[in-house]
Amino acid sequence: MTARIGVITFPGTLDDTDAARAVDRSGAQSVALWHADADLKGVDAVVVPGGFSYGDYLRAGAIARFAPVMSEVITAAKQGMPVLGICNGFQILCEAGLLPGVLIRNKGLHFVCRDQWLRVDNSTSAWTSRFDQGAEILIPLKSGEGCYVADQHVLDELEGEGRVAFRYVGGNPNGALNDIAGITSANGRVVGLMPHPEHAIDALTGPSDDGLGLFLSALDTLVAA
């Protein structure tokens, strides 16, 4: 049976089409989910894609977290369903309390848009198991509020439990504490990252196909379940 992975569209979402394409390329089946529907259509996992949901009003992700579909995502995630938040999706998952910390305005204020090297520091989560520990991957980063911030005790917990999934290498683009680009939940099922793996699934259209590894990891997780 083919794994079905939902991709949510909010008003202002930009990267749902690429996220769905990445899901399909990995061999899973993408399922479109709508922000206003409290219905996950029976999917096995969910991708919360990037963009500017609700225009980033109030704070990035602050309004989207209260969308009807997010109540369902929060409930399902707490029961172990794999969830991936990319860029604005990462911000939404932080606002929703599924991941700790928050993303604030980039240090230096500039919107950063470039191909970014990352090191995979956790190769056991539902979305990173296809990577070798310490592997370096190249995927696009495009964000203005990507500076990861959390209390010191949260940082200590993330570092101590090996929950920093991705770290910027070759220079910190936005001031994120500990060079953090992405993290996982304590159970390794929820992952959020600022860079965009869905834009790096084919050398024809991206800097690499490294991003496909996240979607293949999810497929492995779902098939093994």
Binding site: A62, I104, R105, D151
Partner: protein, 79 residues
């Protein structure tokens, strides 16, 4: 009806690049003597008398501010 003001500010230890940018612009514009600037948000709410302080605090804590990086203050300015 009451008017309620909620001020949300970045915590002192949190980097505030927007406030810094404003602070850096002031000397260039000829305004001397401004040591630092912090930039936050100011909300004005028209509130029914039935809404109690605990509810207002919950609105500020769970929605208007993100307490990981922001402090908030609720004030009733007229009633």
């Amino acid at each position: 009806m009451a008017r309620v003001v909620v001020d949300v500010m970045p915590k002192p230890e949190i980097l505030d690049p927007q406030g810094q940018a404003v602070a850096n612009a002031l000397p260039r514009l000829g305004f001397a003597g401004i040591g630092s600037v912090r930039q936050g948000k100011h909300f004005e709410l028209e509130v029914d008398d039935s809404v109690d302080d605990a509810t207002l605090a919950k609105i500020a804590e769970t929605f208007l501010a993100n307490p990981v990086v922001e402090d908030w203050v609720v004030r009733r300015v007229e009633s």
